[in-house]
């Protein structure tokens, strides 16, 4: 019983973390057709910004609030200076964002001296349920993730900004002809995606400690999630992220951990073979 409870909690928690990390990646990939290989490093920047605020003696939660703004701003500048030149050439975009990611990662590495640095949780301690101790902060992550996903979904589906963004994605020429500035919308979307990555980094840094390679691990699983969920739909990438997160936390409970890692990819490949357009296929024609 205790095992079942802690298993459920851990799996739910890691699923939420994956969703949080993939959210921004999925929005940028789905909306703009850009595979942002620097996404892991945007997550890292969010974590680093949080650490920086904390190291100045300010409360951690302040860093967590500031991180999305800072990373969003960095994302905006990068989009204006670099990324926008890549829209016509997705392959170059991959290389370019990869290079950007490398620059960010190695810069952060030299700033923190290549160390692994702990950042405390804003909410410490554990909830005791029966004999099982559940981390309060991990619980908070699940709650915040749910709220953020819901807010993003509503923003994209229920507001006029969301409508214009979707119009610009669906048919850029027609959107422009209708007086929508796709140029500005791309900038907004990329900034938003980057800010979400920053938020993800800020929230997970107390769980995983700050290190230059923090984002690398999530990048591979993030792309796996998008492949699984289907490119081009918000719901798809969220569903994909949940599946990948839940699988990577759940499989070590049933098979040897070294095997679990491989098994996730095997499952994903088999799935994509039978449903090549993903869990929730894009309805665009």
């Amino acid at each position: 019983m205790e095992s079942a409870l802690s298993a459920t909690f851990e799996i739910l928690n890691f699923g939420a973390i994956m969703v949080l990390v993939v959210l921004g990646l999925g929005i940028i990939a789905g909306m703009m057709g850009i595979f942002n290989f620097a996404h892991g490093e945007f997550v890292l920047l969010g974590a680093y910004a949080t650490y920086l605020v904390y190291s100045f003696g300010l409360p951690v939660w302040l860093g967590m609030l500031g991180a999305p703004l800072v990373v969003g701003a960095i994302g905006f500048v990068l989009e204006r200076l670099v990324i926008r030149h890549f829209y016509a050439a997705p392959i170059v975009a991959m290389l370019g964002t990869y290079a950007l990611g490398l620059i960010i990662r190695e810069s952060v590495r030299s700033l923190i001296g290549g160390l692994y640095i702990t950042v405390p949780e804003p909410i410490v301690g554990s909830l005791t349920v029966g004999d099982v101790q559940l981390s309060r902060w991990r619980f908070a992550i699940v709650v915040i993730t749910t709220a953020v996903v819901l807010a993003s979904y509503l923003l994209l589906t229920r507001t006029s900004l969301g409508l214009r963004v979707r119009a610009a994605i669906e048919n850029p020429s027609l959107a422009r002809a209708s007086g929508i500035s796709t140029n500005a919308l791309y900038a907004i979307t990329f900034t938003f995606g980057a800010a979400l990555a920053g938020l993800a980094g800020a929230l997970v840094v107390p769980v995983f400690s700050l290190s230059a390679d923090l984002g690398v691990r999530f990048l591979i699983e993030g792309f796996l999630a998008i492949m699984l969920g289907g490119i081009g739909s918000f719901e798809g990438s969220m569903a994909g992220a949940a599946v990948v997160g839940v699988l990577s936390a759940a499989l070590p409970w049933v098979v040897a951990p070294a095997l679990a890692d491989v098994l996730i990819f095997v499952i994903a490949i088999v799935f994509v073979k039978f449903k090549p357009r993903g869990l929730i296929a894009e309805r665009r024609t």
């Binding site: 170059v92 554990s126 559940l134 850029p172 995983f208």
Partner: protein, 412 residues
């Protein structure tokens, strides 16, 4: 206004040209990147050229922190040797190349050190993977002496390859009996899935059983795993008393945190991790690793017991203040010993050819170093060392036990 060029012929030409431009730019950047540098001595001997010492270590990449500590120590030791008149009347020129935490980069850079720069000795490599990748380039094809400074799993018996870090017999023989006395008999061995933990655990398991303990489980995880719910559950439900960890970064931080949150230390469990040193203390909050036991050839607190260690530590901190620390887990202490033992050997040999230096290095001794004296075991190419067991208290290590004299590596 953005061009709509997805399917037109011009578009594919444009993007191809752009692609080629980007690729050319990137390869140019890679080719010209700084991956090595030379530190020339402050003085020269008119009659003879300087002795060339090559350092191949990970200045960039995932273990850059350890690599830079190694490079720092090498600079400090070589500066001291040069200030004291060099070796055999000749100054030392230090050539440092970056192995970049990447074996294929390393092989090329180390090859250059041997072929072009013709160094007299190479020290470096941190992971076992790195040692295996570059040892052939140095020892077999390069016909050069190689000194490996890191604690590792043992069993490296290649001629002309000398190891100056601790091996399982040195670390485990000390810490396992101590853990059984100060922790309990029920052990879990959670480990990262690569060579060092496998070989270490094989040795540890025997030792635990011989000392009346038992191994509840031994499990291996992918190197980048960060979620350990299933493992923690196994530890908590099976009443494990001692967690003898060989999970490494990035997993080790989240693992210790989750273990703490599950209440392992609250119920009196003992954490142990032989490679933990001062630079690893920042990974977790102090309360999460309170009571963690480590076992190495040097800890900073040894400076209170050994004046020579204190002098070396003060000199290092003065020359390299900042985040790159002189610690044992990063191979920095092994690097110090390696250079000093090699200095002794060259002085005894009176020349620099590999045969004579190797013969002298085979029984070289130093009376001072971080952690105390050290000596090569003749015919074994491994070091006898002082070994310390230390426990984390309020975020710092305190010495809990020390070996009686130098401990034999029992290798080769």
């Amino acid at each position: 206004m953005r061009k709509q060029i997805k399917d037109s012929g011009i578009a594919s030409m444009t993007s191809r040209r752009r692609f080629l431009q980007s690729a050319a730019w990137m390869s140019g950047a890679v080719a010209t990147s700084v991956s090595s540098w030379v530190l020339r001595p402050g003085w020269v001997n008119a009659a003879e050229a300087p002795i060339k010492v090559g350092i191949a270590t990970d200045l960039t990449g995932t273990i850059a922190n350890a690599g830079n500590a190694n490079a720092n120590v090498a600079k400090m030791v070589v500066k001291d040797i040069n200030n004291a008149g060099g070796i055999l009347g000749r100054p030392i020129e230090l050539l440092i190349v970056d192995t970049a935490s990447n074996e294929s980069v390393a092989v090329a850079n180390v090859g250059r050190l041997i072929q072009r720069d013709k160094v007299d000795v190479v020290l470096g490599g941190i992971t076992s993977g790195m040692r295996n990748a570059i040892k052939d380039v140095i020892v077999t094809r390069g016909k050069t002496l190689y000194i490996y400074p890191q604690q590792y799993e043992g069993k490296e018996c290649t001629p002309y390859l000398f190891c100056t870090g601790p091996v399982p017999a040195q670390q485990c023989d000390q810490i396992i009996p101590w853990l059984i006395k100060n922790g309990g008999k029920r052990f879990a061995l959670p480990s990262a899935n690569y060579i060092w933990p496998h070989v270490l655990n094989e040795y540890t398991r025997k030792l635990i059983e011989n000392n009346g303990g038992e191994v509840i489980f031994e499990e291996y995880y992918p190197l980048d795993q960060v979620e350990y719910g299933a493992t923690i559950n196994k530890i908590m439900t099976n009443n494990v008393e001692v967690v003898f960890n060989s999970i490494i970064w990035p997993g080790v931080g989240p693992f210790f945190k989750q273990l703490y949150e599950a209440g392992f230390s609250k119920r009196g469990g003992r954490l142990a991790c032989v490679y933990y040193d001062e630079s690893a203390l920042s990974i977790n909050e102090p309360q999460e690793i309170e009571g963690l036991a480590a076992c190495l050839d040097y800890f900073r607190t040894v400076t209170a017991l050994d004046p020579a260690s204190a002098r070396i530590q003060v000199e290092y901190d003065k020359e390299f203040p900042g985040k790159i620390l002189l610690t044992a887990g990063t191979a920095a202490t092994g690097m110090y010993r390696g250079l000093k033992l090699w200095e002794v050997a060259v002085k005894e040999a009176g020349k620099l050819d590999r045969e004579h230096v190797a013969a002298a290095l085979d029984h070289a001794k130093i009376s001072e170093g971080p952690g105390g004296p050290a000596e090569m075991v003749p015919g074994k190419r491994h070091c006898r060392l002082n070994i310390y067991t230390a426990v984390v208290k309020n975020g710092n290590f305190e010495i809990a036990a020390r070996s009686e004299g130098l401990v034999d590596p029992r290798e080769c």
